[in-house]
Symmetry: C2
Subunit: 164 residues, 2 copies
């Protein structure tokens, strides 16, 4: 399948919709989905939002939740050929989880510095740095629908969201 | 409480015992425990091993499992004042999970390069680098009972363990 700008839009929209569902449940403004092309059709392996407060689990970021769901769905700890769409550039925890799961590609909307600007206690290491320093092979595609993701941070803030 | 060499030994022994329980269950050779001094006594908030294969979950490293358990036990996403004892230097996923959970201190036995030598697909970023590049405040104590942890990698290998 050849990538066009429109290849990513429907999947990022799905991640943004998951993010919005999370905000409606009082969760932090992060959504992710994992997609793999199987028999020429996209198979959605996971589609979820941040559950940190809901589950009282510091590790329950959207990407980690999506990887757990996708591993269960695929009955495998490795997800070769998959792409993760995430509304914010993965933090180093999520980047490394993606590496362990052997996901091929990360497509993200907002950047770590956007999350920081809204008060999240991010480690200041970009995915580009993680990839270079760590020797990861994952492909990175940045800034897909970034404005839409930032708008969801604003919605979350307007509703009284508190960063951690 | 003042640290002496013996401060860490009983807690690292607990992490090593968890690692050994994991090996006996066919899991990868990693154990962790989380301890917090409460009313002058150590409270064990979590004590577990790697569950990646058992749970079909690429994120179920010993440290992540321990943080999930400790958050649930403490009814909080933040664990200030806690120390995590882990049989191997946390990978960047686990290091960052520890940061998100606001754990104060990491005490580890084997190093990331030991895990690599036994075949694990580690990103080559040490905790020292993660701390410096990411601006983390966590305290790092290395090489506590490293030989004992490496001996458990050897036991795991002898029993036919397969790295991922």
């Amino acid at each position: 399948m050849t990538d066009t700008p429109d290849t990513h839009t429907p999947h990022m929209q799905r991640a943004l919709a998951a993010c919005r569902r999370g905000i409606e449940r009082g969760q932090s403004p992060f959504g992710a989905c994992i997609v793999r092309i199987e028999n020429d059709k996209p198979n959605i392996l996971a589609d979820t939002h941040n559950h940190v407060r809901l589950n009282t689990d510091a590790t329950a970021h959207a990407e980690v939740m999506a990887i757990r769901d996708a591993c269960r769905s695929a009955k495998s700890i490795h997800l070769p050929g998959a792409t993760i769409y995430t509304t914010t550039e993965p933090c180093p925890m999520c980047f490394t989880a993606i590496h362990w799961a052997r996901i091929d590609r990360i497509v993200y909307a907002a950047r770590i510095e956007d999350a920081q600007r809204f008060g999240f206690n991010e480690l200041t290491i970009s995915n580009t740095t993680m990839k270079r320093e760590g020797g990861a092979r994952v492909e990175l595609i940045a800034d897909v629908m970034r404005d839409e993701a930032v708008a969801l941070f604003e919605l979350w803030q307007k509703r009284g969201g508190v960063a951690y």
